[in-house]
């Protein structure tokens, strides 16, 4: 073979048109292409949080301000923008207080459940291969049982109340968080750089926390948003059944249960707490969707929106 000079790539041979491997798409550029779901969801969620927090400082009327002379006023009555319930309580006030309760329960339960659930998931993903199968199956079993069941069992034993509801939601969400963590955690653990880390002498717990957790954190953020939504729904359902938060604490679910007997007398009442729930839950779901698109575009391409 004739001796052909081997070309080398130097600064000269690379002109403007040569493609250089693009730097990882910066987070900023991705944020600029934010999908509408993120805006919408963000707006709804912030409204919810704002209203809930505002209730600590101000509500149109004092909490539980009974006003029997103004019972069941329709919306638009001066002084009561959205009307009053059967004890004369202002609807807006009740909604704000209900928001506060929903926020409390969902924050506490989601945070606790995520911490515990994610730890369990990481532990399972990093455990001995023999154990992983049965352990995952165990988690799956927990997953199949609805939260309401746990809540009812707990409520029967411990008595209804906010604490019981919160505990029940936590108990139900833990398998969810664990299950969602196991898959991706295992995937990350199978990556080469993890093996390299082992080679350096890093201990497994270190790897799990530092590398795996970091890598799956976008997923966890999305999960958190969705779990919030679920927690709000369950809390409302429990309150509706009378198993959750008890009077005099306000809750959207309990508000709704009261409207059931008033369907003929005051049909307008049942719309407001219901819509409140729908918008809040919708907000969290949209937020989760939007976050997923921003943080993990690959998955989002095949998903929704």
């Amino acid at each position: 073979m004739p001796d052909t000079p081997i070309p080398t790539i130097t600064a000269d041979t690379i002109d403007d048109d040569t493609a250089i491997p693009a730097p990882p798409a910066s987070v900023w550029r991705r944020i600029a292409r934010v999908p509408i779901t993120l805006y919408l969801g963000g707006a709804l969620v912030s409204s919810f949080v704002f209203v809930a927090l505002l209730s600590f400082v101000w509500t149109p009327y004092p909490p539980n301000h009974l006003n029997m002379s103004n019972r069941l006023e329709p919306p638009g009555t001066p002084g009561f923008l959205l009307g009053t319930d059967r004890a004369g309580r202002d609807v807006i006030t009740e909604l704000m207080l209900g928001a506060r309760n929903s926020l409390y329960v969902s924050v506490v339960s989601t945070v606790v459940a995520m911490i515990i659930g994610t730890s369990i998931g990481l532990a399972i993903a990093g455990s001995n291969r023999y154990f992983q199968g049965p352990l995952t199956r165990l988690v799956d079993t927990g997953l199949a049982l609805p939260g309401i069941l746990t809540a009812l069992v707990l409520a029967a034993k411990l008595g209804p109340g906010n604490t019981t509801a919160t505990l029940a939601i936590i108990a139900w969400q833990i398998p969810v968080a664990a299950r969602v963590t196991i898959g991706p955690a295992r995937q990350v653990l199978a990556l080469d750089f993890v093996e390299a880390a082992y080679g350096y002498g890093r201990r497994r717990s270190y790897i799990l926390v530092r590398h795996v957790l970091r890598n799956i954190s976008p997923l966890l953020i999305v999960l958190g948003s969705v779990m919030f939504a679920a927690a709000i729904l369950i809390e409302a359902a429990l309150a509706f059944l009378g198993v959750g938060v008890q009077p005099p604490t306000s809750s959207w679910g309990r508000f709704l249960s009261e409207t059931q007997s008033l369907l003929e007398a005051a049909p307008f009442l049942m719309f407001f707490p219901g819509l409140a729930i729908v918008f809040t839950v919708l907000g969290f779901n949209l937020l989760g969707d939007g976050l997923r698109t921003v943080l993990d575009p690959q998955q989002a391409r095949t998903g929704s929106s």
């Binding site: 609805p146 746990t150 069992v153 029967a156 411990l158 709704l256 049909p267 969707d289 095949t302």
Partner: protein, 319 residues
């Protein structure tokens, strides 16, 4: 296939076993004494002692657990303290409404979800596909009990077409029975359909990207033809997995719906028992509901085996 079925069966019993332990632990280990709950705080010590003996609470936990299980299998679950009914009998009596609305909801939501989801996937890039996406997104945010109330308001109170509640047994009056469960089934189906449609959509979109879809199109199928003939069958695999997870939600919805529409089913029983602090009843009811969910999952597993030839071959090979 047989081996696969056996394996699923084993999973079923394993899960039931674990679940029963969990329920039992929740009731007996957490919180205070059952007796205190049942009798109340101010009960006289004599009564407390008597009840403890009667319920066998002085025996070791493991014995109590086994006795409970044995009771469940033989039909002796004890009696309600507050109301005096035999638990097992009551459960049997109340299964029908729960079954009716659960099965009814499944019959409606599964085909509907498949159709909507597939439609949405085929038209994913067009407005009509996106429309379905938006609608289902709202649908999953609607609490089942609120949907129930809305339906009652509209169809029962305003229009008077259907009853506001109550249940008519099938044997007594088929038409009346169906009428009494129409609104509950609709309310229940709403949530399930919304969730499931979204999963169908995602699964179908994933499938449409597969190579064999392109192969089918290369042979002359249209996009829609390829989706229907090849896509749906393959998408059903991940769907079936997801469907299993929905049964829990379905039962939870049933519990709520039965309370909104005052249907004398298991759901209403467990809530009443909970509010009455009847821990013994609740314990057994939880087990029953759990079993129901697990059996549904088992059936779905079997269907999975029928659908995907790779699964049963693998199971048979590994067994």
């Amino acid at each position: 296939m047989i081996r696969y079925t056996l394996r699923s069966l084993f999973s079923l019993w394993f899960a039931a076993f674990v679940g029963s332990i969990a329920v039992f632990a929740l009731v007996n280990v957490l919180g205070g004494d059952i007796v205190t709950v049942l009798l109340g705080r101010e009960a006289a010590p004599v009564d407390v002692e008597f009840m403890r003996e009667e319920l066998g609470l002085d025996r070791p936990l493991v014995m109590q657990y086994l006795d409970w299980l044995r009771g469940a299998l033989t039909g002796d679950l004890g009696t309600s303290y507050g109301m005096g009914y035999d638990i097992f009998d009551e459960i049997v009596r109340r299964i029908e409404p729960t079954l009716m609305i659960t099965v009814g909801a499944l019959l409606i939501s599964v085909p509907l979800s498949l159709a909507l989801g597939t439609y949405s996937a085929i038209n994913a890039k067009k407005v009509r596909g996106g429309f379905v996406d938006v609608v289902t997104q709202v649908g999953i945010a609607i609490p089942t009990f609120w949907a129930g109330l809305l339906f009652v308001l509209l169809f029962a109170v305003r229009l008077g077409w259907l009853p506001t509640g109550g249940y008519v047994p099938l044997a007594e009056n088929p038409v009346g029975s169906l009428r009494s469960i129409t609104l509950p089934v609709l309310a229940l189906s709403l949530g399930v359909t919304a969730v499931f449609t979204r999963y169908v959509r995602t699964a179908m979109i994933d499938v449409m990207n597969e190579d064999f879809i392109r192969s089918a199109m290369a042979r002359g199928r249209s996009r829609r033809g390829a989706a229907l003939v090849h896509g749906v069958r393959n998408a059903s695999i991940p769907l079936v997995t997801v469907a299993a997870l929905q049964f829990g939600q379905l039962l939870a919805g049933a519990v709520v719906v039965e309370n909104v529409f005052v249907l004398p089913g298991i759901g209403r029983l467990i809530v009443t028992a909970t509010l009455g602090r009847e821990v013994v009843v609740v314990q057994s009811l939880a087990l029953v509901i759990m079993l129901f969910i697990l059996i549904l999952n088992f059936l779905v597993d079997i269907a999975y085996g029928f659908l995907d030839p790779r699964i049963r071959d693998k199971a048979d090979a590994n067994a």
